[in-house]
Amino acid sequence: MSLTVRLFAGLRDIAGGELVRDVPEPATVDAVWAQLAHEWPGLAPYRDSVSCAVNAEYARFSDSVREGDEVAFLPPVSGG
């Protein structure tokens, strides 16, 4: 299935801000991350500090993803 992946800040610098990726079904956010980190090894060290969102709602890495979802990976935040 095809998904849109959004990356921000330091993650975007490594792999780009918006990617379309095919992942085998069924898949979780974690599987999407694993595929990206395989493709872009520079992302891998972020695994423990990154958060995620699905369709612009906070999500967990164990959450399922569906065809057409927008999966976002959020490095540690620094707003304010």
Binding site: A9, Y58, G79
Partner: protein
């Protein structure tokens, strides 16, 4: 004007203060309770020095739809602690020079303690979980500032923010 916004335009506090005051007055009138007696505000500025480095300018990036939801979530959390408070948050994105406002927050309540606590809680929660990132350009380089891992469900973070808001 929306109570929660991400914008590339310069921030203005006064319209936000008017907005929360008006919304509070309307809600209070509907529910037959005390109207606004206090508006507290917070404005974050781009500082000239960070971590011992001279900052040239900052560039902010946000995941806008989630950031707006995060601001709404902060307001919902506040409603459990300070049911009377009405909150507004506007955060800037794009390039900001030293001294410019990066975030403006206003909170209205019937009484000063609640307005003040709401404002402080909001800025602490923004720093903990809002999907917004600061790119710092300093003399000799540039770097993304990496603060907290965003986890809106983390109860310990919420409690920490609340204890800072009500010392």
């Amino acid at each position: 004007m929306d109570r929660f916004a991400i914008t590339s335009a310069p921030l203005r506090l006064e319209p936000l203060m008017d907005l929360v005051s008006r919304v509070h007055a309307e809600q209070a009138a509907r529910e037959d309770r005390e109207g606004p007696g206090a508006v507290a505000s917070f404005v974050g500025l781009v500082r000239n020095r960070h971590a011992g480095r001279d900052v040239d300018h900052l560039s902010y990036e946000a995941y806008e739809p989630l950031a707006i939801r995060a601001f709404g979530r902060i307001a919902a959390e506040l409603a459990e602690r300070v049911p009377d408070a009405v909150l507004a948050i506007h955060h800037r994105v794009g390039r900001l020079e030293i001294g410019e406002a990066s975030v403006a927050i206003a909170a209205a309540s019937a009484h000063r303690a609640e307005a003040s606590a709401a404002c402080r809680y909001a800025i602490e929660r923004i720093k903990q979980m809002a999907p917004i990132w600061k790119h710092e350009v300093f003399a000799g380089g540039a770097a993304w500032v990496e603060g907290a891992t965003a986890d809106p469900e983390d109860a310990a973070s919420r409690e920490r923010a609340w204890s800072l808001a009500c010392p």
